[in-house]
């Protein structure tokens, strides 16, 4: 039982990430997919083929025109009463939008890969869970799925052959989707997505995680979203917001902590939890531990651009969620989602008793100019202030205020620095920020062992985090080099 829990824990944590946070590879993958002018991989820039320009990967976009609907006999729009009233084009449009809101592309596309062709490895201690090809290719994808089989997979986690999916696939949340939206999603996947005739290597986990039937027991005890009914487009704003938050965006997958069976603790809904290095914060309406002081516009700005000034910015898995999903929602939906989130009952926190964004103010670096230049081979470790001066101040400024346009955000009034938990600051320094939305690109280089800009040691990062949080944030987090090493090795 203990082993089983451990395994499941790993799988769930993976799912909680909505993928990618587990490896910076994945983050890069999605950044590439989204940015038309994507950064080439080092391979692309340094491999010779003189003819090979840095080619940007195409954004995951529908390839077929909506008029293509109806060519697959498996699709029977008429079988669905509500859908039958809609034009094919409208169904396609809705399906594409649902796929975006449910952020399918995040998991089902690998680094530089074809959209929805799967192959993204989600590392777990039990082995890699590999996302599958969900393009309509008959042999390698889901081309043979009937709508009923598709519905079973999406809402119940059951594969066409009857096997159980690992809950990395958030079917617990998707269970809340309306029939009409599942139908539209199916139609779009069958006709709006380019079939790709390759299958990624299947997931091979070690025992007992490889016993897929074990998931049946878990499915029985875990709490699932109740299916919504009717036409989700006609819901009043609050209901629409709830539907977006729970059935589609699956916010709780990351932001709701888990119980002993690793199901989401519904009595701690959106109260925050750890996920593979990052910490998905409390986003309840608590004015001390949550985001109760945010306005609806603040939250909309955050979801749309990944940045709410003097509050927070998205990196890691949330950066991806913003890039691939929330930034692409309609204004109306964003407001509905924000309004719903902002009325979620307040939950308090063990560690955080003051709003994360309320900490800090501009603090000038002390006078560090007391030394002559050191010899080029002197790589001796500097103290926190010097490390900040050398690595951070160029963008975030000597006093932590960031750039005037806040492209490089201020480090005070910043939830990452004001959190009582240093996790997200450590992860951001290790992996950087790479987020593309219609509002532009947000980037910070990584400072990990692969960085071309600067490779920082565990101890240097520990000192830097301590300097930043003590100077601009919630106080000394007592971060050690060993802790940073743990983050570096495991996440």
């Amino acid at each position: 039982m203990l082993d089983f829990r451990k395994t499941l824990s790993a799988l769930l944590v993976s799912s909680a990430l909505s993928v990618g946070a587990l490896s910076c590879e994945a983050i890069a993958a999605h950044a590439q997919n989204a940015a038309p002018a994507a950064t080439p991989t080092p391979e692309a820039t340094s491999t010779p083929a003189p003819t090979s320009a840095p080619v940007a990967t195409q954004a995951a976009q529908p390839v077929a025109s909506p008029s293509a609907t109806g060519t697959n006999p498996a699709v029977t729009p008429a079988a669905n009463g509500m859908a039958s009233a809609q034009s094919d084009a409208a169904v396609m449009e809705r399906g594409a939008y649902i796929a975006t809101a449910a952020d399918c592309v995040a998991c089902h596309t690998k680094l530089g890969g074809q959209p929805f062709a799967g192959g993204l490895k989600i590392a777990t201690p039990m082995g890699d869970v590999v996302s599958t090809n969900i393009t309509p290719d008959a042999d390698h994808g889901i081309g043979k799925y009937t709508e009923q089989e598709f519905e079973q997979a999406v809402r119940h986690g059951v594969r066409r052959d009857g096997a159980y999916l690992y809950p990395v696939m958030p079917y617990v949340s998707y269970a809340g989707m309306t029939d009409q939206d599942v139908h539209a999603l199916y139609v779009w996947f069958m006709h709006g997505v380019k079939p790709i005739a390759t299958a990624p290597k299947p997931t091979e986990l070690t025992f007992p995680a490889n016993v897929r039937s074990a998931m049946a027991a878990w499915n029985f005890v875990t709490t699932k979203e109740q299916p919504e009914s009717g036409d989700s487009a006609t819901y009043d704003p609050l209901r629409r917001g709830k539907y977006l938050a729970n059935a589609l965006e699956h916010c709780g997958t990351c932001h709701t902590p888990r119980n002993f069976m690793l199901s989401e603790k519904q009595d701690r809904y959106l109260a925050g939890g750890p996920l593979s290095g990052w910490y998905a914060p409390n986003i309840t309406s608590s004015k001390t531990a949550g985001i109760g002081n945010w306005s609806e516009d603040d939250l909309v700005a955050y979801l749309q651009t990944g940045h709410a000034k003097a509050r927070a910015q998205a990196a890691g898995p949330m950066g991806e969620a913003v890039e691939h999903s929330t930034s692409r929602l309609t204004d109306k939906d964003l407001h509905a989602l924000a309004a719903y989130i902002l009325q979620v009952p307040a939950m308090e926190d063990d560690l955080e008793h003051k709003p994360r964004e309320s900490f800090g103010h501009a603090v000038d670096l002390p006078d560090l100019r007391d030394k002559v230049p050191t010899r080029i081979d002197d790589l001796s470790e500097m103290d926190g202030a010097h490390l900040y001066d050398a690595n951070c101040a160029a963008c975030h400024s000597r006093n932590g205020a960031g750039t005037r346009d806040q492209y490089a955000p201020s480090l005070f009034n910043n939830t990452t620095v004001g959190s009582a938990r240093p996790d997200n600051l450590i992860m951001t320094i290790l992996h950087g920020v790479n987020r593309q939305t219609a509002a532009g690109h947000a980037g910070m280089p990584a400072f990990d062992g692969h960085s071309d800009v600067q490779r920082l040691s565990d101890s240097e990062i520990a000192k830097l985090v301590t300097y930043i949080m003590t100077t601009f944030g919630s106080g000394d987090p007592h971060v050690t080099a060993d802790q940073v090493s743990h983050f570096r090795k495991n996440f």
Binding site: D377, A390, H450, D452, V453
Partner: protein
Amino acid sequence: MSSDQTLSADVVIVGSGVAGSSIANELARAGISVIVLEAGPRVDRQHFVENFRNLENKPSYQGPFPAVPWARHPPNQQTPNEYLHTSGPNAEAYQQVYLRMMGGTTWHWAGCAWRYLPSDFELKTRYGQGRDWALKYEDLEPFYYQAEVMMGVCGPDPAKEDLGSPRKQPYPMDALPISYAAQQFRSLIQEKTPWRVVHEPQARNTRPYDSRPTCEGHNNCMPICPIGAMYNGSYSVYHAEAAGAKFIPNAVVYKIERDSANKRVTAVQYYDPDKNSHRVTGKYFVIAAHCIETAKLLLVSADDKSPNGVANSSGHVGRNMMDHTGVQVTFISGDKALWPGRGPLETNVIDNFRDGDWRSERGAYLVHMVDDNQVDLATQLAISKGYVGRDLEEQIRYLAAHTVRLFSHNEALPDPENRLTLSKTNKDILGIPHPDVYYKLPEYTVKSCEHTRGVFRQLIGLMHGTDEQWTPGYFPQDHPSGSTIMGTDPTDSVVDGFCRTHDHDNLFIASSSVFSTVGTGNITLTVAALALRVADTLKKELIHA
């Protein structure tokens, strides 16, 4: 002392700058074993940033890079200095600076990534001056592009601004936004002169590229880009290491061994900082150690078989030293404020004098409007004028906003008399002689510089300039070249068109030292393109073998 350990690789490269590291990267990716020997140490950016901030003399490009004793480089551009000894009528004009450390001199460059003009490779044929290269522009074009992709070069849309070097592909990145100062300068040139200002191609990110951030305009590309937005050789080092190349720092190569027939190189020997000797064998050898150090190494390796030095049957090793020796002036514009010093240092160039029939008489040149912060100069000037108190502050503000700095890259010619030799009196702690250089500016370049002065005076007049400060004599541009000159005739050149030494079949040179003439554009992109062509040759020969 000698070490028992013998290292071996398919290809042994001396030098880890842009040339050596990019070859290592290409070869390692093709599965070829590579050892790179770097005389200097491993380094990192954060310590240079701190050194720069601690530096009183901010414009000192060498300042943040105090050398190690076993791999010294010139500490500054003064004459005399503690390492590079120059002599001759224009000794001051050849005080080149460069860096000996992992990643090489591109730690401090301005990122200017010019391709040469087709005519630059055919100066003799077209204008009866200097020499022709043993290759044509078209031979290098694919490698120019490969180098641009490797470094991440931004540049203007060729359809809108043709820089004279035909391109098959657009630049990997869009051009930089033009700074306010540059806009003022552009308008002036466009309205009042027959010339033009072009956007200089730059190895600098105008979008996130290669996991590095977009340029934020810190304006200290030289001496150190604080955020890694500008290319430097350390990225190629990292990429090559990730591909499996082995880099050995603090390995000062002092000897190149050949077989009994003196046709093939068999090994190189290096000292570590404690002067233990190590031997590295290989199938191919590439010397990519900067123009000055490359010639020095070939000369130091002289022995009974090659009494004048390795690869030197022609006697041309160390000769034909060239640079873009130019002129420089600063003045205070009497027109509108320019506020220079925002954005990258060098982005705007008058390119009307890069080519023309007059090249049969005088050298070509290009003019940089240098967009650097002028507060230092303004302060000195204001103090020298006797201002104090609030007036001083106002004057500094006014002068900093109105200072214009211009300099030129003037074309040199290969003259065998301009020569690098080994110092007879000065040796480093390992006993390796320092380099000495004799330099007399060729008449061709003197005429070119005279022409440039005329243009500068015209510009000063147009801008109602005052307080002219001309750099005395000539201005070294740190683009040394020619010391292992390329040619088709083994009796008057050192390498062939593929940068293979005429004397030794398996010895290549990847450096500006192979340049037959020096053109006008900054040399780094051409160095990188030639290096990538060396990598291409090596791959073909090793994989064929």
